[in-house]
Symmetry: D2
Subunit: 315 residues, 4 copies
Amino acid sequence: MKLTEDQKKEIKEQQSQKNVTKRVTSPELEKILYEALPVLDHGFVRVVDYMGDDTSIVQAARVSYGKGTKKVSTDSGLIKYLMRHRHSTPFEMCEIKYHIKLPIFVARQWIRHRTANVNEYSARYSILDKEFYIPDKQHLAAQSENNRQGRGNLINGKQADEILNLLKEDAKRNYDDYEKMLNQKYDGTVIDENKQGLARELARMNLTLNAYTQWYWKTDLLNLLNFLSLRADSHAQYEIRAYADVMIDSLKRWVPLAYESFMDYRVGAMELSSKGKSVVKKMMKGEKCTHEDSGLSKREWNELMGSLGLKENLL
Amino acid sequence: MKLTEDQKKEIKEQQSQKNVTKRVTSPELEKILYEALPVLDHGFVRVVDYMGDDTSIVQAARVSYGKGTKKVSTDSGLIKYLMRHRHSTPFEMCEIKYHIKLPIFVARQWIRHRTANVNEYSARYSILDKEFYIPDKQHLAAQSENNRQGRGNLINGKQADEILNLLKEDAKRNYDDYEKMLNQKYDGTVIDENKQGLARELARMNLTLNAYTQWYWKTDLLNLLNFLSLRADSHAQYEIRAYADVMIDSLKRWVPLAYESFMDYRVGAMELSSKGKSVVKKMMKGEKCTHEDSGLSKREWNELMGSLGLKENLL
Amino acid sequence: MKLTEDQKKEIKEQQSQKNVTKRVTSPELEKILYEALPVLDHGFVRVVDYMGDDTSIVQAARVSYGKGTKKVSTDSGLIKYLMRHRHSTPFEMCEIKYHIKLPIFVARQWIRHRTANVNEYSARYSILDKEFYIPDKQHLAAQSENNRQGRGNLINGKQADEILNLLKEDAKRNYDDYEKMLNQKYDGTVIDENKQGLARELARMNLTLNAYTQWYWKTDLLNLLNFLSLRADSHAQYEIRAYADVMIDSLKRWVPLAYESFMDYRVGAMELSSKGKSVVKKMMKGEKCTHEDSGLSKREWNELMGSLGLKENLL
Amino acid sequence: MKLTEDQKKEIKEQQSQKNVTKRVTSPELEKILYEALPVLDHGFVRVVDYMGDDTSIVQAARVSYGKGTKKVSTDSGLIKYLMRHRHSTPFEMCEIKYHIKLPIFVARQWIRHRTANVNEYSARYSILDKEFYIPDKQHLAAQSENNRQGRGNLINGKQADEILNLLKEDAKRNYDDYEKMLNQKYDGTVIDENKQGLARELARMNLTLNAYTQWYWKTDLLNLLNFLSLRADSHAQYEIRAYADVMIDSLKRWVPLAYESFMDYRVGAMELSSKGKSVVKKMMKGEKCTHEDSGLSKREWNELMGSLGLKENLL
């Protein structure tokens, strides 16, 4: 990731602010505020604003429950309780805003999380940067054979080189042709003074889905947790997970108690269906329990045994 | 409005904070942060947190439009442009959180604004305060005769006294009976040691709709403006308008440029329908235009003439 | 529940429709369409419109996954898969609309589910019905001693009678005074021709929270399931659960396959936290596992053992 | 637009349904139900389901206003009133579902309307169609010189040919390379039996933004109107407007009364700011009013005079 001189200057100015406020602050998050944390080859995540901290969750819960919450002795205990019982509204009382640079195909997955506020760079107004995502070789995987939306073995050697070449060349050529149609280089230089440039809103359609865009993305803590539990998960595509992983670090700095509960009750947790619960109950009592009388499909049985680390029971 | 000693102490502690932050701050809003601004007889509005200021709107717009926004010379000009053309997303980049004490029947109107985060005091958990809204005599109006949801003339004299008496006595008696059923006074004293109290979630149903509740209410600037344009409007019920009016003052402190645009393009604005536009066009050219050939209903015609201050044209 | 003659007539007319459509229909749901299913003493639930059925979920999933879904052989298997993996969007493709009559204190809990469309009877415009919820004796419970938002033992005998009397008398008196202030009976009769009535928007504040209101409530299947999983749960207040239970029956008629998956993967399911999972894993292997080395709080330990039916392990 | 044999068969089957329902139906909309209405070169719009009609709006309003609405004599009058006064919730009581095929860059604009349910074809699961949007010559416009997000003059002759060639060749080459990376043709043929194909979730990034995707898109009438008022507007990009225009026709069939109000009060309407209103008032009285004393910026003045058809007043 390279920042332009303008960007570096802007970040420096933002970071040099020393404002006095009566609002709660999150000292660990302040340390990385505005910083461009690199993701993938040209992307970044920057926390650019936030509101509230762990105490804001507690404060909201105490308003709801009134004097009733005094019994729970600690903030940590209360946050754990709220997370465990999926009380959602107190977590909505904290808000965070990110500035993110990301490939368009990642942005298309991301935007499906609707409960967020977004301002995206508009290619109707302005010319997109000349940057495209090209995967590292270590992420160049074949289609998984048993998971229609997953990756299988790595692709190596000559085939890997060929693929990377195609990706690079196609993205570059399409960007060059984008400039040609615009009759303008990215830096603003007009190519041919005697020609008009195609409307930007049209020319952009020639770009590839690995071109980088950027946006401001603002959401409350509850929806951030929903986003992270789906996108920092092993089933998520690596390229969006790379963003989620960096954001989890910002979560830890911002609201350390909520982070801890989140890791325990959401990230590391599992669900047992009604039938799955029966299986577990039987097995805990030492009763015999086979796939046949479990009522589970083969797939469900394997998912359950896998989650419980009972490899010997896999079908 | 009276605050308890606990509340006064909490507010004092919150206001004495002097935290250093790299975030933008809104100095005029900081001045009233946490303060309980009185509304109606026992209600209040407190700004308890916020994120962003006028520059956050501008910053979001500049991310969207890229280099394209450099032409617009000032922040004020850009915010006006965004408001005029109903660009919504940049206004979503600011967030504010209020602590509000309000009668339940007002809360029921308020909650219809769905795009907000709410934590309300729960009468399942705790006992509600012994406070009810009783209107001032100056707001005790008769049902409007031509507007099914409006107020007409003031009700005076003996009838006014009778009404206020009924409101006071009924609210008080119902609260007393609420305590009786709970077998507990508001201050926690048990009434009869040999009895169990009715479950709070049941006893609360005896309260009247003018009992006060409280909540944390957090929303983004766009939705705050939507709320205020509906609720600070003359068609809104006086009791919710009283809250909106106090909140408009906090808006002015927080984002003075957005406030100014809002007053010009939303609060003081009017809409012309397609047919209404034709009428205005004709009249501006000095052409004759009557209700008959306007295509407007009588009601629409009167609304239009009223808005344009042409009383002589009212039917 | 009593319906007025007008209501009966309207329902009969609606039910006598025989329209031909190319849309999918849900035959079992059609059988009860428009019918007023009684809930509590004066409330009802009516399904008044719907869109889609089980095949609509499947169809949406097949659009998403393209040819990839052909492998999953059956609609039932696919819906189970979607429910198990918390795929949410295909369930949003079905929509249902209810007409519901319910006490105001129930409406206040209900409205917290924001992702729904609502048109509520407005007491600014019109006079509310003279009907209040009075609990059956079998639901008149004392405050729970160990759960701040729950019910404990039943209240019997004289105390029960006293409570029911208070509820009835206070609701009735407040309604009578409401009419007095309006200077109008519910049926429209003016009380005193020489007086003006108080504005309806003001008079309504004298009503109690057990007065009945009504609304149209429309939501998609996903949000209906979220509502039902929270409100048909044993932790929900009985009065809202009574509605959820009736609605679960309409769910079963409407989308029987989704209903079945919902019961297995949501209603009857449980979550294991990361620490809870470790405990279960150990116990399944026959290893000893005590509260002390589980890392769980006493409360969590008891919740876990309770859910797994291991009463002997309760602390 | 060409449909596959499978698609044609599916549509025929759907259209041959004759189900009997007690729900309201919209006869004019039924006539085109499921039909693929062509948009752009390969796109389409299909209405695949709906709920409610004009009477559903009226019914919801009558629930809200109770007996208060009886005065307004007609459905048409009531719907006009609701539209004029921006009453929003009754319009949320109708729902519609579309199946849409559209270029990815159009989908990216569209998805910004958050209050809708979406199931999009997933290029993680399946291979995208070999179809790209190539504009007609009559829409191949140069960048506007005075509007940063608009189109100016048409581009003609040789330059137009060059641009169209670039668009076609780049899209085609990138698709061919997509197949190469997947080691699979669109029709499923494996290219080289000795190679693994790149994971679909990676290969897709090589596609251009004019590749076609498809989705189910479901929304309520209120949000459909918001979408249409923004996207059927002359400021919208032609390519999304083409979709909105076809959808406006389905609106007219579905809810003809709401459609009529929408055209009058939204599409053909204009807003007057507070200052703009003063200008209009003065001019209607025949008073002189110049830009200097209007308080409007030059841009605002011109927008106002333009909207009112007073070209002679443009600065």
